[in-house]
């Protein structure tokens, strides 16, 4: 197990350097000058511009700038935001819980609906529920997030007025961050209605973000279940006289979970990409919105550092999934 972990960590090294290089290049390829963006409408004098260029080091060759940046990164220094002057590291971790909370809730939504739907479809293969579910999943999978979000906002926020359109909680509630998770903090605060408000704010973004993973999980669960249900050991389980819910829900599902967990792990990257869009639409104060805002402001250190930290997060999640995989699949564990 330790050897496995070490070898996986080793593969992270090239990815890590790749991401620093790509994020460094990406933000500089975009047209627009960060200093001019900071100056805004007012503009600035030539001398002031030159002074700032020197201060940020933009007058030096790119390769030199990159090496200096990399040197900082290796010492754990991601630089400071041009705009807020706060360390990128601090900003990331003050906003990350919001994204994590949204992503976890989206994933829970996808799992709670996707797993049973996939199982029921597989057991009723070819029947009406199965066909309806698979067409719906296809629609969900190919639905543009932006359009889906707007549709939900129009119906549930606009027409029905059930949910707010932006933020994590109503402004009337105010309490300290304990965990950074609004659902937990609001409950801990003991303020009446705070938790409910947090849930109301969370529900639409979580559904929007969870829709694609939901479609993917439902489809993957179905196909994995179909395969597993034809296995000899399922016949053995039935031959023991076990009730169908135990045969399907324990013997089959446990095996079907192996490929499903892989898919869940793979969709974490997609989930974070979706989070960027979802957070922007719902003004959700997380990493995604922060990144988008920073790209518009040409806030180089934030974009570079943010992308790098997101990449590291994805790598950590994938590693966790690999370890988890070993726990569900005893064949891997011993190997």
């Amino acid at each position: 197990m330790l050897k496995f972990l070490l070898s996986r960590l080793l593969t992270f090294v090239p990815t890590f350097f790749g991401v620093t290089l790509i994020s460094f290049a990406f933000i500089r390829v975009l047209p627009g000058d960060p200093i001019l963006v900071m100056a805004g409408e007012r503009g600035m004098t030539e001398e002031r511009y030159q002074a700032l260029q020197e201060q940020f080091g933009f007058d030096r060759p790119l390769i030199e700038q990159y090496i200096e940046y990399l040197g900082g990164v290796l010492q754990g220094n991601l630089g400071e935001s041009f705009v807020t002057k706060r360390p990128v590291w601090d900003e990331f971790f003050s906003l990350f819980p919001a994204t994590l909370e949204l992503s976890i809730c989206a994933m829970v939504f996808a799992l709670v609906l996707g797993l049973p739907a996939g199982v029921i479809a597989a057991v009723n293969r070819g029947k009406l529920f199965d066909r309806a579910l698979m067409s719906t999943a296809l629609v969900g999978y190919s639905m543009p997030i932006f359009w889906w979000a707007l549709l939900l906002i129009i119906v549930f926020s606009g027409n029905l007025g059930w949910t707010p359109v932006s933020g994590r909680i109503s402004l009337q509630y105010f309490f300290d961050d304990v965990t950074g998770f609004m659902l937990i903090d609001s409950a801990l605060s003991g303020q009446k209605g705070a938790f409910g408000s947090a849930v109301q704010h969370l529900i639409l973004p979580a559904i929007v973000l969870g829709t694609i993973p939901l479609a993917v999980i439902a489809r993957q669960t179905r196909s994995a279940m179909l395969e597993v249900l034809g296995e000899d050991y399922i016949r053995t389980a039935r031959a023991k006289g076990l009730p169908p819910q135990r045969v399907v829900g324990l013997h089959a599902l446990r095996n079907a979970m192996i490929p499903v967990v892989t898919v869940i792990g793979l969709s974490v990257g997609t989930l974070l990409a979706g989070a960027i869009l979802t957070e922007t639409i719902f003004s959700w104060p997380g990493i995604g919105k922060w990144m988008v805002d920073s790209i518009f402001r040409r806030d180089y250190p934030v974009v570079q550092g943010g992308l790098l930290l997101i990449a590291v997060m994805v790598m950590i999640v994938n590693l966790t999934v690999d370890v988890l995989y070993g726990f569900i699949n005893p064949k891997i564990r011993k190997a």
């Binding site: 296995e231 000899d232 050991y233 016949r235 053995t236 389980a237 039935r238 031959a239 023991k240 006289g241 076990l242 009730p243 013997h251 446990r254 095996n255 569900i328 699949n329 005893p330 064949k331 011993k334």
Partner: protein, 325 residues
């Protein structure tokens, strides 16, 4: 009263290319404690017949029978829940591939105790004690440790012993062993057969031994039922069958036995069991039968009397008349 009575059992599969009759009028009667071998080449419908009895066929199968009685219960009338109380308890089955027949995600101990809880409602401690006892009974050394093993950590022979332990866990009245040794090494094969017959002797359960190997039959069975292309073609007591086979197919199977071979090469029966698309008219064995004539190829043969082993043939072998001549 007979323990098991099957009359005119037929199984049709709904396939993408139409209906296919995999079992065609199968009959079998078993007394408590009897041993019957069901013999036939691969594809003869042996497995399907007994999966139908157990109620384990997929939904594409249609099962019909004039009689399907087990231990006083009419299985045709039984609800799914009633059947679940019988299978795995009074009637149990083991399969050809021990490796794939056990769930890779659970320890063998978990899988055996599951049956004990389902049917006998034993508590945790009683389940553990009974599981150890069963492992000892089927000759698994160091049972406490083996109970914690996953199937892939055990050999094929060991897994088949686990399957047997699981099948006899609730002291069944009938054990169906579907080619239990086909997937195993030759040396292990003999051990498993020996185990099955000795368990049968100890517990007094009835045993159905499904096999394509006449050699296995000679060593273990009392009654032999020969199956071909979904039909029973002959049934006799084992010694009589070996001495005087009446159906040409039985005779051909016996001729293929190594110890009966006269030349260096084993005589195999030319051709294969007909499947969905090449079912002949008349006698199903006619394309491969050395005695076939035009009548065989046109008219389905009758089932002859018990004195002729219930053979399904126009021209049975070893008849009284022949012997007198």
């Amino acid at each position: 009263m007979a323990l098991l009575e099957i009359r005119n059992l037929s199984v049709d599969f709904e396939t993408t290319s139409g209906r296919f009759r995999a079992v065609d009028g199968f009959d079998l009667t078993m007394e408590p404690g009897g041993i019957t071998a069901v013999v036939g080449e691969s594809g003869s419908g042996k497995s399907v017949s007994f999966l139908a009895l157990m109620g384990l066929l997929p939904w594409t199968a249609t099962v019909t029978a004039d009689r399907l009685m087990f231990d006083g219960t009419d299985l045709r009338q039984a609800s799914r829940a009633q059947r679940r109380r019988i299978i795995g308890k009074d009637m149990s089955m083991i399969f050809q591939e021990p490796m794939s027949s056990l769930n890779p995600c659970f320890t063998v101990g978990f899988q055996i105790k599951e049956a004990l809880r389902q049917h006998l409602g034993l508590d945790r401690k009683a389940r553990q004690a009974r599981a150890v006892e069963l492992f000892e009974q089927v000759g698994i050394p160091a049972p406490e440790q083996r109970l914690k093993a996953f199937p892939h950590q055990l050999s094929g022979g060991m897994n088949q012993r686990v399957m047997i332990a699981m099948a006899i866990a609730c002291k069944p009245k009938l054990l169906i062993a579907d080619e239990p040794t086909t997937a195993l090494d030759v040396t292990i094969q003999a051990q498993i057969l020996e185990l099955l017959t000795s368990l049968q002797g100890e517990t007094g359960m009835a045993l159905v031994l499904i096999t394509h190997d006449m050699g296995v039959v000679a060593e273990t069975a009392e009654q032999v039922s020969v199956q071909y292309a979904g039909q029973k073609v002959e049934q006799q007591e084992v010694r009589a069958l070996f001495a005087t086979p009446h159906h040409p197919y039985t005779a051909a199977l016996l001729q293929a036995l190594p110890e009966r071979a006269t030349s260096k090469h084993l005589p195999t029966i030319p051709g294969v069991v007909p499947g969905q698309f090449d079912r002949p008219a008349g006698c199903l064995f006619s394309p491969r039968c050395a005695y076939a004539d035009d009548r065989c190829r046109a008219v389905p043969p009758p089932v002859l009397g018990p004195d002729l082993g219930l053979a399904r043939c126009h021209y049975p072998l070893n008849t009284q008349a022949e012997e007198q001549a």
